[in-house]
């Protein structure tokens, strides 16, 4: 007997639930935070929101689960498609949701250039530390030394700190939160959906893959979640840690926050000159 309903469900296509995500996959938690942000902003219908995603587990969040227009595009190409949508109809709020592989590996160039252009998009990157959909291979975010199917002797590569790289571009807003920092995450969503409404807004969510990261550590998703509550700390605090302690913690927080004109503002300004 279901008497009450989860607040998220009104934003979801119920007919396709439960989701195809693994039991305990953190993607669903990110959805909760996002939907709660919408609810707290008083936005109950997403018909003016367009969600764009690439290929990967996290890319399935909008397609088909979010009840809104959604474009489930090619692997790595969500940002250019989203750019096309936004430029063609600036009335729409365009939100990209994707994985670390999708947005930072194969799609890294688009991420970089959209951030440089301060393109008017919200981008949510779920960093689960691996390629989940293709069964847990190393991603550019995989910690050095980690064993995965493509790094059987340990990962030789240094991982990418995506949020801090993007913070070093022209983007308006850049933050990172662990999935365990639910309230911060939700508030970050509120910030980019309700306050800073232009330019490039990037939120990285640190959310290790239940099946291919957490299970390999012989942990349950619940245990890991509790662990993350200690692992994830504010970056100011993190920076004060001794080097060795740093590697054991994830620095989180808002790395950049501005409200300068986005690409569309700049473009319109040039065109306006033409009309005069």
């Amino acid at each position: 007997m279901i008497k009450h309903e989860h607040l998220s469900l009104k934003y979801m296509r119920r007919e396709v639930l439960p989701t195809a995500f693994c039991p305990g996959c953190y993607n669903g938690i990110v959805m909760n935070a996002l939907f709660q942000a919408f609810e707290e902003l008083g936005i109950y219908d997403l018909r003016k929101y367009v969600f764009v995603s690439g290929i990967g587990c996290s890319s399935w969040i909008p397609s088909p689960y979010i009840k809104a227009d959604s474009l489930h595009t090619l692997h790595g190409r969500a940002i250019p498609v989203a750019t096309g949508v936004k430029l063609a109809n600036p009335e729409l709020e365009v939100i990209v949701i994707g994985g670390d592989g999708d947005l930072a590996s194969i799609g890294g160039n688009h991420l970089l250039h959209a951030a440089r252009r301060n393109m008017d998009l919200v981008v949510i990157m779920i960093n689960n530390l691996v390629y989940g959909m293709t069964r847990g291979q190393a991603a550019p975010t995989t910690p050095k030394g980690m064993v995965t199917p493509t790094t059987p002797y340990g990962n030789p590569e240094e991982p990418m700190d995506v949020a801090r790289l993007i913070a070093n571009t022209n983007a308006n807003y850049v933050a990172r939160w662990c999935v365990s920092q639910y309230l911060f995450l939700k508030n970050s969503f509120k910030k980019v959906l309700g306050e800073i409404k232009r330019g490039f807004r990037f939120i990285e969510v640190y959310a290790p893959c239940t099946t291919f990261v957490i299970r390999r550590e012989n942990k349950t998703p619940g245990q890991k979640l509790k662990e993350l509550m200690n692992t994830c700390i504010g970056y100011e605090k993190w920076e004060k840690l001794p080097a060795e302690e740093r590697t054991k913690h994830i620095p989180t927080g808002v790395f950049r926050e501005e409200d300068k004109p986005g690409f569309l503002d700049n473009y319109k300004q040039l065109i306006a000159r033409l009309k005069r």
């Binding site: 008497k3 953190y26 669903g28 909760n32 349950t220 619940g222």
Partner: protein, 70 residues
């Protein structure tokens, strides 16, 4: 203060991941036996719920709802 809560579980959405029961600060939820409709166990409220909603936020499958009893 003195509020009591009900915890509703949607057995068709729950995938038995156990996050809710592990995250509950009061250890108020335990995993029940397998739900034949899905093949997964569901959580069951066995202790006192303080309405913190952690289980609800962190349930990845929108399967658990915490409501104040009126």
């Amino acid at each position: 203060m003195g509020k009591t809560y009900v915890v509703d579980v949607n057995g068709l959405l729950c995938k038995g991941c156990g996050i809710c029961s592990e995250i509950c600060p009061r250890k108020a939820l335990v995993m029940d036996s397998v739900n034949p409709a899905t093949g997964y166990p569901n959580p069951k409220l066995v202790g006192e719920c303080i309405g913190c909603k952690l289980c609800m936020w962190f349930c990845p499958d929108q399967a658990i709802v915490v409501v104040e009893k009126r």
